[in-house]
């Protein structure tokens, strides 16, 4: 059977939380009729401010939450079908914000072995998977270290290895760099990018760092439980006003080119990298200065 190119298909999904206040039991709607398809091998960023529904959406991708209305298909399986919950969780692995909450063992390699052990995989195969996973996140040489001796970025890479050891087709990362310093953020981002490019793993990255979203193939922006933008980083970041309206930043270079355009200077839309910005400004300045 030929595999569907869509690994995840979200169809018209709405979701409401139940209020925790006993005096005021009502449903709090979070997602409103969201539809989104994610294809195999894609690297998708989901951007949105706190409370925009992006984490709620992410939790629908591996059965942590089930839709109030609508359907989520993972690899063609309806997530409401309780029989296949373990298949879905092996297909889509989740990585969360705080690495300290995700590491369970006292030795790095034992932590990475946790999931495959639970899946009942043969010991020799587990050894292979743990080594592969640690190599793919660049943490093999720390395999015998204790997690508390590692930096935040290293711990987060161990958490990612723990997911990779299940050999999922897709990983969903919910703000994996929010608690890391710039170096840790760079380590984690380059690891994720490599897993996507070299191992062909589909990546859904929930973030509110615009520079991280700029490194993805596709950016989806959520606001008030809806998807308001969906496109390449260039397309999405061309909507400077709209992004600011929904409480998001754009990269500094995007904002600068936007401001210059507003002042009547001719520049292309959607500049997102430092190099591109420097190149365009260099062109402009050389042209202006040579007119002297």
């Amino acid at each position: 059977m030929e595999k569907d190119s869509k690994i995840i298909s979200i169809q018209n999904v709405s979701f409401s939380y139940e209020s925790t206040d006993p005096d005021n039991q009502q449903l709090i709607p979070v997602l409103h009729g969201v539809s989104l398809d994610i294809h195999r091998g894609e690297f998708v960023a989901v951007l949105g401010h706190n409370g925009s529904g992006k984490s709620t959406l992410a939790k629908h991708l591996n059965c942590i939450l089930l839709p109030t209305e609508g359907t989520v298909f993972v690899d063609g399986i309806d997530t409401k079908d309780g029989e296949f919950i373990y298949d879905i969780r092996q297909t889509v692995g989740m990585v969360f914000q705080n690495p300290d909450n995700q590491i369970v063992a006292t030795i790095v390699e034992e932590d990475v072995a946790f999931a495959p052990e639970n899946l009942g995989i043969e010991p020799a195969e587990i050894r292979q998977r743990v080594d592969d996973a640690l190599n793919s996140v660049g943490m093999y040489k720390y395999r015998e270290s204790a997690p508390h001796q590692l930096s935040g970025g290293q711990k987060q890479r161990v958490a990612i290895a723990g997911i990779i050891a299940m050999r999922p087709a897709c990983i969903v990362l919910d703000e994996p760099t929010a608690m890391l310093d710039p170096k840790g953020r760079r380590e984690v981002m380059s690891t994720i990018r490599r897993l996507n490019r070299e191992n062909g793993i589909t990546v859904v990255l929930i973030t509110h760092y615009m520079d991280e979203a700029a490194q993805c193939d596709r950016v989806v922006v959520t606001d008030s439980g809806k998807i308001i933008l969906d496109g390449t980083p260039k397309e999405v970041f061309s909507n400077v006003e709209l992004l600011k309206d929904v409480g998001l930043d754009v990269p500094q270079v995007t904002e600068l080119t936007y401001e210059l355009k507003k002042a009547g200077i001719e520049l292309p839309d959607g500049i997102i990298s430092v190099e591109e910005c420097a190149d365009k400004l260099e062109e402009l300045l050389r042209a202006a200065l040579s007119e002297k």
């Binding site: 206040d21 401010h49 706190n50 409370g51 914000q97 930096s151 935040g152 703000e175 929010a178 608690m179 310093d181 710039p182 170096k183 840790g184 509110h208 520079d211 409480g247 998001l248 930043d249 990269p251 500094q252 270079v253 904002e255 600068l256 401001e259 210059l260 002042a263 200077i265 430092v274 190099e275 910005c277 420097a278 400004l281 260099e282 402009l284 300045l285 050389r286 042209a287 202006a288 200065l289 040579s290 007119e291 002297k292």
Partner: protein, 290 residues
Amino acid sequence: MAILKTENLTYTYSPGTPYEHTAVDNVNIEFEKGELVGIIGHTGSGKSTLIQQFNGLLRPTSGTVFVDGQDIWAKNAKIRELRFKVGLVFQYPEYQLFEETVYKDIAFGPKNMGITGDELDARIREAAAFVGLREEHFEKSPFELSGGQKRRVAIAGVLAMRPEILILDEPTAGLDPKGRERILGQIKDYHKQTGGLVLLVSHSMEDIARYATKALVMNDSKIYMYDTVDNVFAHAQELRSMGLSAPQISSVFSLLEQRGLPVSSGIYTVEKAKEEILKLLAKGGEGNAQ
């Protein structure tokens, strides 16, 4: 006179064991009243160990910390009073809330200082107003609030002590851009109104560029640089090699400078960059007209 000063300050963890590690190494620095100093450095550079000595949470292995000219560990010094003078807001301070209501949680610090009655009430209201909490929040449990609101309650609890020196360890970690801007704007207003010293530890160079008057760079347990924000960000390349990231704009301008274009140095905000580019373009145009 400097409001906060260190002399040969050194802190070593687990001395005499195989885990011995000097996290702050012979630091000499003076901070003046009225500054809003951004403290930057990668994880493990010694930032947190440094600031925890400023309010006596850690006792230096050697060297001295002076607050208002007083050695804080001198024989007759009162460390408890020092902690009212030097307010420290930790990372993720929302995990430290514990009272039944927002009002009571903010009251905890000033109450411990012995403040009661109208004065206490006035301080709680003032601190709450600084962080944008309204009367309707006062009787709520802090645990009913959103993450950003909880954090603002925790900061208000420190502001209510009216510290002369306010130190915040990554007050915006994990917040979205709107939440970040809001908290930093409130800190800036507080700083303007009180004219005290504010030290702000942050990983976000963009935030430091926008809000701080000076920047302190820690590297390998030592002070690498302490200067105006302009001068610090002029060293974009060095910052990057230390595992820090300079603001995007300063990277663009150092590229333009390397390529021989006549741009000014010390440009790191969008506003200044826009001005500079427009100025240069206008110059070119003028030349043409003559």
